[in-house]
Structure formats: structure tokens, C-alpha cells
């Protein structure tokens, strides 16, 4: 494991060096975002009558400016950071203004084969059972005025689509072939979700990869793995591992007048949690499958679909929870 990490780091360093040596059109420029928000809230109704403790009105907000310096050394290496300045509404002349280092990213490409990102990265869209940040509930058809309000916490919480914002590294490669198969894609990632305290809490990492093959316009198949695990240390009080493995396939028939597709995903998870102090272990395994068909008769603009899903009660995939919680 250590050798792999060392090789990987060495590869990045050498690539960075090469990229700099070959730099032909470096650029430095700024991008950014500014926002001023004031929210005035009011709470009323029978439940608040006689309540002298709960706030009935509140006015708050902020003005912020995210300044993002971008460095493009050449076609194969970019870096950026976001420096935030935020002033809460109501504080004057610089009082309570704070600064934050909101983002740091290095994005590069190794010999035009592997694209990588390091730092603050987005992970997602592997499959709904492996790496997926679900949408919030009950807002699919909301009005634009509420979407605007929702865009604020989304931006503040780095929510873009169904991807998780994490810190680590990821790679992405796609290869095209002219015989038998059309494309092969390989994606990998590794992030740390919780740091060690150097005594009894181990590092917790999330890593995985996805490989998919597009044989033709008719058939596609993919394999996913995501593992969340603690890096063992001698005095660790816990040891946690969770592995999820899935396979996907899709058959598509897309003609001029109709469209038909079958898709399916099948996978399993294994969970293990060890409490070292009382020598207790909880572990379980379970599986899921989902398959569906859909068809469309294009002149009628009708789409019909049917799904069958079976998710075991002990199936556990922490990076693909079914509800967005705790935000």
C-alpha cells in the first residue's frame, strides 16, 4: 500500500515538473463570486402566544466575496484556490469580518491518458448504490423563487448535482477502441473522511473505482467498488470497514420510431465494526438488485417504464445514502 502511494506521489511530482518544463502558455487570472443576502424572518401563530423565549423576528445575513485565483501552467496542469471574505450583516467597519480558505485544487493530466484532481474534489454519479448524493426531498417541482433560496445552502455546502465534496485525489481515464468494444473507462478515487488524532482514533478513508465498458451502442456494462475503512493503528479503539461491490449492465435499442432499454444493477455490501475496548464486533452482509425496463414510442412521445428493486435491510453503502441527512 505504502509503495503504491509513494509511486503515485512520485508520478505526480514528476508530472508536475514535466508540465512546468513544457509550459508554453501559462495564465493567471481571477474568477469569483459575490453575494449579499439579508433574511428577515417572522414567526407567529397560536403556539407562539405567551412564548417569551423563542425569537419572533430575526434579521440576519451576510455579504461575501469569494476570490478565486487560477493558475494554468499549460494544457496539463491547473491549480486554483478560493479565498473567502465574509462580513455578517449588521457588523460595521470590519467588525467580525472573517477570512476563509475555501478551496484548493490541482487538476492535471498525465501524458494525456490520466486526468487527475487533488485537493477539494467532487465525487459522484458512479451508481445510486455506490457513490451518490441524493437530492433533497419534496422540492422537485418547487418554484424558481424557492430554488434561488435553496441555491444558497447548496453553494455554501458545496452541493453540485448528486456529487459529494471530499478531500483527496481522483483519476479519470477513458480509452477508445475501434474493434470489438468502443470504449473503456477507469475511474479511481481516494479521500480521507476523518483524520486520526494520532492516539486512538484511526484515519478513515473512502476509496473506490469504477470500470465500465461500452461494447456498442447496444450494450454497456460496469463494475463499481467503494470501500470505507479505518487505517489500523495499534491503540485504535475502533476498527471499521465497509465494502460495496456492484455490477451494472444496460441493453439499449434506439431506433427512429421507438426506444427500448433494459438496465440492471446487482451488488452486495459487507459491514464490520469492532469496538476494541469491549472486544465486540458487529458485522453483517447483505445484497440488493434492481432491474428495470423502459420503452418509448417516439411519435407518441410516451415513455413507459417499470422497475423491480430489492434492497436488503442490512445493505450498507455510506457514500450512497438514500436521504440527505444532517444539513
Amino acid at each position: 500500500m505504502n509503495n503504491k502511494v509513494g509511486t503515485l506521489v512520485l508520478l505526480f511530482i514528476s508530472q508536475t515538473y514535466l508540465s512546468q518544463a513544457q509550459a508554453t502558455k501559462s495564465q493567471f487570472y481571477f474568477t469569483g463570486l459575490g453575494r449579499a443576502v439579508v433574511t428577515s424572518n417572522q414567526l407567529g401563530g397560536n403556539l407562539t402566544t405567551g412564548d417569551t423565549l423563542s425569537p419572533k423576528r430575526g434579521v440576519s445575513g451576510y455579504a461575501l466575496f469569494d476570490l478565486q485565483p487560477n493558475l494554468t501552467l499549460n494544457d496539463d496542469l491547473k491549480a486554483n484556490a478560493i479565498l473567502r471574505m465574509r462580513n455578517p450583516f449588521g457588523s460595521f467597519f470590519g467588525d467580525k469580518t472573517y477570512f476563509e480558505f475555501r478551496q484548493f485544487q490541482i487538476i492535471g493530466r498525465i501524458r494525456k491518458i490520466v486526468e487527475y484532481e487533488i485537493g477539494d474534489i467532487y465525487l459522484g454519479n458512479m451508481s445510486k448504490y455506490t457513490m451518490f448524493l441524493p437530492d433533497e426531498m419534496y422540492n422537485r417541482y418547487e418554484a424558481d423563487v424557492f430554488k434561488m433560496r435553496r441555491s444558497l445552502p447548496d453553494y455554501e455546502n458545496f452541493i453540485i448535482g448528486n456529487m459529494w465534496r471530499q478531500q483527496g485525489v481522483k483519476t479519470n481515464s477513458r480509452f477508445g477502441f475501434n474493434k470489438y468494444i468502443k470504449e473503456v473507462g477507469i475511474n479511481t478515487f481516494g479521500v480521507r473522511t476523518n483524520p486520526t488524532n494520532e492516539t486512538n482514533i484511526p484515519d478513515r478513508v473512502l476509496a473506490g473505482f469504477r470500470s465500465d465498458v461500452k461494447q456498442s451502442d447496444y450494450f454497456w456494462a460496469g463494475f463499481n467498488y467503494v470501500g470505507m475503512l479505518d487505517i489500523p493503528i495499534d491503540r485504535a479503539t475502533i476498527n471499521y470497514t465497509n465494502h460495496v461491490t456492484t455490477g451494472e449492465a444496460k441493453l439499449t435499442l434506439n431506433k427512429e420510431t421507438f426506444f427500448a432499454e433494459w438496465s440492471g444493477e446487482l451488488g452486495s455490501s459487507s459491514y464490520r465494526f469492532v469496538q476494541v475496548l469491549d472486544d465486540s464486533t458487529v458485522s453483517y452482509k447483505d445484497f440488493f438488485y434492481e432491474t428495470g425496463i423502459k420503452g418509448s414510442y417516439k411519435p407518441a412521445k410516451i415513455l413507459l417504464f417499470a422497475n423491480l428493486r430489492n434492497v436488503g435491510p442490512q445493505f450498507s453503502s455510506p457514500s450512497a445514502q438514500t436521504m440527505r441527512l444532517n444539513i
Partner: protein, 678 residues
């Protein structure tokens, strides 16, 4: 993850979702939001690690083919879009050239050495300070000082959207090297604001958001009081690149050079203007909070305090009448505290005008106001009418104003000096000793207006050869007796004394000194058995002269002021012991241009303040106040570059009360300021 929402209501909002629709709770939320993004690519396109179908959709134009694996096969890298856009394409971004960088370097050192001093001074008698106010956190305190480096980024003023962002760096030079030492401050004192402009045919709209938005609606409603400048002390916002030009303009200009906000109010929030050109009308809307809306302690805890204001302005331009008429609305909508829901509100509806009719300028404002707080539910009214004859009519320009403003016509964000004790800076719950807006029975400067008062003010000026004479005379009287207190302004050593115990309104050995930004006031009490309404007289005379001395420019400024407060409306200031208080102040400033880049300045001022036996009596000898203060000093200004100068000042100061024997201080103060504009 940091989930942003209103701190007060974050839990409520989440709970709200769990209520069923019959829940007897109403939740209302109004959001004001201005947002802009330059180079949106960086923030919205995050499609990497997409699944195959997504990659297929996005890769068609990004396919990079390369022959390497086998001569017959073609290896291609399908380059998914990354966070920063495509590697091979030039991003559409705001070039760095579009961002303007400007700012100010201001390195200030003030050394004060006192032989005699007030016992409650917040510093010792000898004190080094690297900010305007000692012990203040620069850029992170309520007007605590100005930063050493103000770095402003802004975009082109011609663009449709603008931003102005200021990074303020400061250090109080404590000698501590740790990066975490609180003496190193990074903040944004002035600029964190955004704006947009739109034009659609004859309608033009502009919106500014953030802060600080220096805003004026009208004199009564929103736009803070202006005071006379001090000619010797340097102000932090001094914008002169040429030091001597400052004194030349004091000589040439009739109006005050002005404070930081030019009589406007600092606002956080939103200001929108809509110009309807065919109708020659402007609509203005203001929402937010001023620096007086909430206390520093309540500034960011969601305290329910907000300010609304609006103005409809019509421009009139005919053959005989030219000017503007406006209708103004202002409301401070607040509560006394965060949870009990008790209103603390005051509003104003006014009409103002500024019209030139047959070469005579008529201006004024009239309106009504309401107050609704735990101590008072009432309404008031007021007006001020002014007539001016300018130089196009006479060689002796003159202006006469009459005003009558009820005690309930109050706005702490406006220019009416406030005597209403229920209207307080920061809100109803503010203690008197921290209420900087309270000006009970103030001996105001000529031209200033106050509530619970009616009065005249007459101003004029005359040029005789190189002499310029400006005079002002004001007579006023309280409308009803509301307090046995008189507030007076100390003009000599005003800045120095305000640094003794900044922002506190009951300092000094007898708890009478009120410290403001660059100013000092004092309150004394009067005998409660005295009958009759108090009358106020103020006389100002400013003599200005410019000449050559040894073939160099010399500007002389001499200001004389006399104030009195007595019972009754007196046409002539009371000079005898019948006056509760008599205040005489005079200063003279000489600015001499030694060379193109440097000048020297001398300044001296004296002040006497005497009370009668109907005012506070000394616990030491039973006699009223009898104060004498002076200051004299010299200065050198050296502009070593077109955009940079160094300014040195030193002064000797003294204050002594014959009867209140503890009220005395004496010392010296030096300060040096390096100021560079870029």
C-alpha cells in the same frame, strides 16, 4: 458542512417542515439577495467522475485521439469536463486587467504624554498608539480605527455589474511575532459591495448591495449630521494628495470639506434607484441596517432591527423654476430585544424641496413622524424652511432658515440632533452611558437642527479683497421642557480628549464627558426649579485670508465661536451670569507653503466655558464650572511623491476647571502619519 441559514431560525426552519398544515404557526421569511459571479464556469461545472452516459453526452467535442497502443487501434482519451473547464479550451474569464487595484497605506503613530490626566483614561499617561484610538482593534471594532493597508479590488466602472472589495490589513505592533496574535488584523472595513445597472429604454435601474453603502435619503430621514472640520488634526479619510491644497480649499470653499460620509449614513443592505427619464423621476428604495440600528453586541445575532427608506424624487426644470421635490419615507423597524416581541419603531414621512425660483433658492423639508416603543406611543411633526440668495443675486450671499421640530420627530439616522430619550442608538435597551445619539438640549453648531426645538439660523459670507468672511448666527428655543441637562461641544482638543475613553458617554472625573469619533461633548445639569424654556444662541465667525509671505503662499484661518444657553428666546447671546452656560472658542491656523512639496502649519486655540449657579456646583467649593482650555502646536507636511506624503504634528494641550478641581489635564501629543495612495 456549514449550513447557512438564519442563525436564529435554523432550528425553526427545520421543525417547520415537520409541522402539518394545520399547525397554528405562521412562518414568514423575506430574503433580499444580490448575487453575481464572474466566470461562472469555475463554480457551476463540476461534471467530472460522471457516469458513462454523461461522459458520452459531453465528450463529443472533447475527443483527443492518439495512436499509441497499436498501429491499428486508436486510443482516445475522453476528457470529461473538469471543475475549471476544459483543458484544451481557453476559459472565458474576467481578465486580471479588468480588475482595478487601488488602496491606501496609512501608517500612524501617536504618542501622548500627560502630566495631568483624567483618572478613567483607558491608557496610561504615556501611551504609544498605532491607530486613531488606543486599545481599539483596527478594522474590527466600532469605528475603532483605520487600517494600515486598505487594498481595494474593483472591476471596470463601465461594466453592467460591479464589485468593490476591500481588504484591510492592520497591526497594532505589539511586538508579538505569532501569526495568531490578535494585534494582526485582516478585515474589510469599507468595501464589500456589489452593484448592477440595467437600462431598458427610458428606464434605468441600479442596485447596490453589501456594505458600506453611504446613503442619504433626505436631511430629516436619513443622512447623518455634519460638523465643522478641525483644521489641524488630520482625519483618517483625508483624500488630499497635495497637503497644501487642503488649506487652499479651506480658504476658497464656503462649504465644509466634510467627514467620511459627507452627511450620509453608513448602511449595510440594499439601495436601489430607478430613473424614469421621460418623467424626470427617480425612485429610491433602501433596506438594511445602519451603524446605529443595533448595538455592537447585537450586531450579528439576528437582532430584529432593520431600516426601510424610500424616496420619490421629481426633477422640475422650467424657465423660472428649477430643482427637485421629493417625498421620503423612513422607518426603523425593531424590537426591544430578541425574544419578547415588543416593538421599538420610529418612522417619518416627509416632503423636501430644493427649488430655485427667480434666482432665489428655496429649500426645506416638512413631515410627520411616529414613535412606538415601550415608553412612548406618539407622533410628532417638524419642518425647516430655508431661503438663500447666492452670488448671482448679490455680492453678499446670505441664507435664512427657520425650523420647528417636535420632540417626537426623531430619526437617529437623520440630521436632526436627537433629544427624545426613548430613541437611542442601538435600540431602546441601550443604556444612557452608551447612547452616542443622545443630544439633550445641545448647544448645536450654526446650521444644525435639533428636535424639541424651533429657531432661526442666519448665515452669510462676504469677500473683501483677499479676506473672506463667513458668519453664522443661530437662535433657538426648546419647545417644551423635557430635561434639566445641557450638552456642549468641546472644540479645543476635541480629538485628543475623545481618545481618553472612546465611545463612553459618561467619562471624566465627574462622569460628564461624552466621547465620539473625533469629537468630545460634555453634559451638565441645570437646576430643576428653574422655570422657563431654555434658549440657545450660537455665533460663528470664520475669517480667512490668503497672501504671499516671502513669496510663498500663506493661508490664515481664524474661527471664533460663542454659545450661550439661558432661559428664554433671546435675539442676542447672553453674556452675563444669567446664562446657564457660556462658551467661547477661538482658534487660528496658519498654513505656509515652504516649497512645492512641503508646508508647515501652526495652530492655536482657546476655549472657556462658564456656568452659572443654576448648573452643577462643585463638590469642592460649591461653585459652577469655570473651564479654560488651550492647545497650540505645529505641523510639517511633506509630499514626497505625487501620491504619498508624510505628516508630522505636535501639540501642547491643557484643560483646567477652577472649581471642579479634578477636571484637569495637561500634556503633549505627537503624531506622525505616512499616507500613500495607489
Amino acid at each position: 458542512m456549514n449550513f447557512y441559514t438564519n442563525k436564529l431560525f435554523s432550528k425553526k426552519m427545520i421543525h417547520f417542515r415537520s409541522f402539518n398544515i394545520n399547525s397554528p404557526i405562521n412562518f414568514a421569511s423575506v430574503i433580499f439577495h444580490l448575487f453575481f459571479c464572474f466566470n461562472t464556469i469555475s463554480l457551476v461545472k463540476a461534471n467530472s467522475y460522471s457516469d458513462t452516459s454523461t461522459a458520452e453526452k459531453k465528450s463529443s467535442t472533447l475527443l483527443i485521439r492518439k495512436s499509441s497502443f497499436s498501429p491499428k487501434s486508436v486510443l482516445s482519451i475522453l476528457n470529461s469536463k473538469s471543475l475549471l473547464g476544459n483543458f484544451s479550451s481557453a476559459s472565458t474569464h474576467a481578465a486580471v486587467n479588468d480588475i482595478r487595484i487601488s488602496g491606501t497605506v496609512r501608517f500612524l503613530t501617536i504618542y501622548r504624554s500627560m502630566k495631568e490626566y483624567y483618572p478613567d483614561m483607558i491608557t496610561s499617561q504615556r501611551n504609544f498608539s498605532f491607530v486613531d484610538y488606543p486599545l481599539a482593534n483596527v478594522g474590527a471594532n466600532n469605528s475603532g480605527g483605520f487600517p494600515m493597508l486598505e487594498l481595494n479590488l474593483s472591476n471596470s466602472p463601465l461594466s453592467k455589474f460591479q464589485f468593490s472589495v476591500g481588504y484591510s490589513f492592520a497591526s497594532t505592533l505589539t511586538g508579538k511575532m505569532e501569526n495568531t496574535d490578535p494585534s494582526r488584523q485582516l478585515s474589510s472595513r469599507n468595501n464589500l459591495r456589489f452593484g448592477g445597472k440595467w437600462a431598458s429604454g427610458p428606464v434605468r435601474v441600479s442596485v447596490d448591495a453589501g456594505g458600506i453603502l453611504w446613503t442619504k435619503v433626505s436631511r430629516f430621514t436619513m443622512g447623518q449630521t455634519q460638523y465643522r472640520d478641525n483644521y489641524f488634526d488630520r482625519v483618517p479619510w483625508d483624500w488630499y494628495r497635495n497637503s497644501f491644497l487642503r488649506y487652499e480649499e479651506y480658504y476658497t470653499l464656503s462649504t465644509n470639506i466634510g467627514a467620511e460620509g459627507f452627511g450620509r449614513s453608513p448602511l449595510l443592505g440594499y439601495v436601489a434607484n430607478v430613473d424614469i427619464l421621460p418623467l424626470q423621476m427617480r425612485l429610491m428604495g433602501v433596506y438594511g441596517r445602519t451603524n446605529l440600528s443595533a448595538t455592537v453586541a447585537n450586531s450579528v445575532n439576528g437582532f430584529p432591527s432593520e431600516v426601510y427608506a424610500g424616496r420619490v424624487e421629481k426633477t422640475i426644470f422650467t424657465r423660472r423654476i428649477a430643482g427637485k421635490v421629493g417625498f421620503n419615507y423612513y422607518m426603523k423597524n425593531a424590537q426591544t430585544d430578541i425574544s419578547r416581541g415588543i416593538p421599538d419603531q420610529n418612522d417619518m414621512y416627509t416632503v423636501d424641496y430644493n427649488l430655485k425660483i427667480y434666482k432665489i433658492l428655496f429649500s426645506g423639508e416638512a413631515g410627520i413622524g411616529h414613535i412606538n416603543n415601550p415608553a412612548l406611543k406618539d407622533r410628532g411633526a417638524g419642518f425647516a424652511f430655508k431661503t438663500e440668495l447666492d452670488r448671482s443675486v448679490t455680492s453678499f450671499p446670505i441664507a435664512l432658515e427657520y425650523y420647528r421640530i417636535g420632540v417626537n420627530m426623531a430619526s437617529i439616522d437623520g440630521s436632526i440632533l436627537n433629544s427624545n430619550t426613548t430613541i437611542r442608538a442601538g435600540g431602546y435597551a441601550t443604556e444612557f452611558v452608551y447612547d452616542a445619539s443622545m443630544n439633550l438640549n445641545i448647544m448645536q453648531e450654526v446650521g444644525q437642527i435639533a428636535n424639541n426645538r424651533h429657531g432661526f439660523s442666519l448665515t452669510g459670507e462676504k469677500n473683501i479683497w483677499r479676506f473672506k468672511i463667513q458668519f453664522g448666527y443661530a437662535i433657538s428655543q426648546e419647545l417644551k421642557h423635557i430635561s434639566d441637562t445641557i450638552t456642549m461641544q468641546h472644540r479645543v482638543n476635541a480629538f485628543s480628549r475623545s481618545r481618553f475613553r472612546p465611545w463612553f458617554q459618561a467619562s471624566g472625573p465627574y462622569g460628564r464627558i461624552k466621547g465620539f469619533w473625533l469629537r468630545t461633548f460634555e453634559t451638565i445639569t441645570t437646576d430643576s426649579n428653574t422655570t422657563g424654556l431654555k434658549g440657545f444662541n450660537a455665533f460663528d465667525l470664520l475669517l480667512k485670508y490668503k497672501c504671499k509671505f516671502l513669496n510663498k503662499d500663506l493661508v490664515i484661518l481664524n474661527f471664533i465661536n460663542y454659545n450661550s444657553v439661558q432661559v428664554g428666546f433671546k435675539p442676542i447671546p447672553e453674556m452675563s451670569d444669567k446664562a446657564f452656560v457660556r462658551l467661547f472658542y477661538e482658534d487660528i491656523t496658519l498654513a505656509y507653503r515652504l516649497g512645492k512639496k512641503y508646508n508647515i502649519v501652526f495652530n492655536a486655540g482657546v476655549e472657556t466655558m462658564k456656568g452659572n449657579d443654576k448648573t452643577n456646583l462643585s463638590p469642592e467649593n460649591g461653585k459652577p464650572i469655570d473651564q479654560f482650555g488651550y492647545a497650540y502646536g505645529g505641523a510639517i507636511d511633506y509630499d514626497f511623491a505625487p501620491n504619498a506624503g508624510i505628516h508630522f504634528r505636535h501639540k501642547w494641550m491643557s484643560h483646567k476647571d477652577k472649581n471642579f478641581t479634578l477636571d484637569r489635564f495637561k500634556g503633549q501629543e505627537s503624531y506622525i502619519e505616512l499616507k500613500i495612495f495607489f
